[in-house]
Symmetry: C2
Subunit: 211 residues, 2 copies
Amino acid sequence: RKVLKENDLLAHRLRDRFQSVGTRVVSLVSSPGSGKTTLLERLLTDLRREYRVAALVGDLATENDAARLARSGAPVKQITTGTVCHLDAGMVERALEGWAVEDLDYLFIENVGNLVCPSSFDLGEDLRLVLVSTTEGEDKPLKYPTIFNTADVALITKLDLAEAVGFDLELLIRNIHGVRPGMPILQVSARTGEGIEGLEHLLISNHTESK
Amino acid sequence: RKVLKENDLLAHRLRDRFQSVGTRVVSLVSSPGSGKTTLLERLLTDLRREYRVAALVGDLATENDAARLARSGAPVKQITTGTVCHLDAGMVERALEGWAVEDLDYLFIENVGNLVCPSSFDLGEDLRLVLVSTTEGEDKPLKYPTIFNTADVALITKLDLAEAVGFDLELLIRNIHGVRPGMPILQVSARTGEGIEGLEHLLISNHTESK
Ligand SMILES: Nc1nc2c(ncn2[C@@H]2O[C@H](COP(=O)(O)OP(=O)(O)OP(=O)(O)O)[C@@H](O)[C@H]2O)c(=O)[nH]1
Ligand SMILES: Nc1nc2c(ncn2[C@@H]2O[C@H](COP(=O)(O)OP(=O)(O)OP(=O)(O)O)[C@@H](O)[C@H]2O)c(=O)[nH]1
Ligand SMILES: [Mg+2]
Ligand SMILES: [Mg+2]
């Protein structure tokens, strides 16, 4: 469709722009409530000790998530989508007006909570993380395959709840690899901090220090 | 838009058809993994002792949910939507071909897991339940208001996990009523059975025995 084609062209232009100034752009997608904002609160707080970081966050309504992320001290902008169920490259481009992206080492983009629609819209990011919490059921990758096919790394979140819910880690990993063989998978808890260092290492190591 | 207008016309026709034969149609919407299928497994098993019940379930891929629901012994059909992020009245009408709806007391419809898109598509149901689990965060009604505005009853699910996650029941109730003043709210656990009797009573009492 024409809308997707236009979005792709714009996303490619954004990606070129980000790469030309060496800014690493990481987006997060998931079901509503999988833990995107809670995880980003920790990542922004930790990474800004050594790097210049900022975040965009998309939601239908409220500035709640932006307010939570702003507590880290990093620059944050809320993108309010109204009834649109995903972010697109145009929204990202408009939100970045007035920001000197070249002054950033990392730009994080939290997408609208939705396991379907965001998969069709490239935002110009280098890395797309798909989050699945231990509380949603191990079948999600099989039932919502497209979002796993358009992401680069899967994060299993809320690891601290695994025992309480009877979560089957092996099953979820098998299901992720059933849809996306070889997909890198990290396990984290934004509550206890488990696995966060490994994730931060992944984000930093993939980023050439060319800046 | 023309698509929504057409869907509304078809939904009205379906609703007239259901009401003329006295079949009670109940739909369930929520985020992916809030517990729609787990709850329906109990409802179908319990209700079919005295009533004739059936279910339709929508997903992008797999027949997993239909297989789980079919274990109850009730007739179940899977609607596979491919990339479409919601069910619509046309899909429901096509799925019902070959079924004698007039022979049913209750028809349940589980929508695709999505807190955004399903809100715009009337399916001809009498009652729409929106599920929010204790593990998703109390802010969901504020951030996804439209789905709460198009549902009739809110169900707070996975009550058995409330303590483990530090769930704030009062806050979620306040947020639901902030978006939809007076919305009826039930609390359930499909694991322990807590609140299920109250829900079944609600479903039965609203249904005149005219059949
Ligand atoms: N136990 C536990 N709870 C968590 C963790 N991460 C997030 N939560 C809780 O999960 C709920 C949802 O977290 P959010 O970070 O708001 O989720 P989100 O993905 O940003 O949600 P949306 O923006 O609405 O899509 C909140 O109640 C959090 O406290 C975790 O690692 N462990
Ligand atoms: N502890 C607890 N877990 C539950 C409860 N209800 C569902 N679950 C778990 O939550 C996960 C998701 O449940 P499902 O019933 O598949 O959720 P769903 O809403 O049908 O998911 P989709 O069809 O993918 O949108 C599974 O791991 C269930 O075992 C409950 O009352 N308590
Ligand atoms: Mg969030
Ligand atoms: Mg289900």
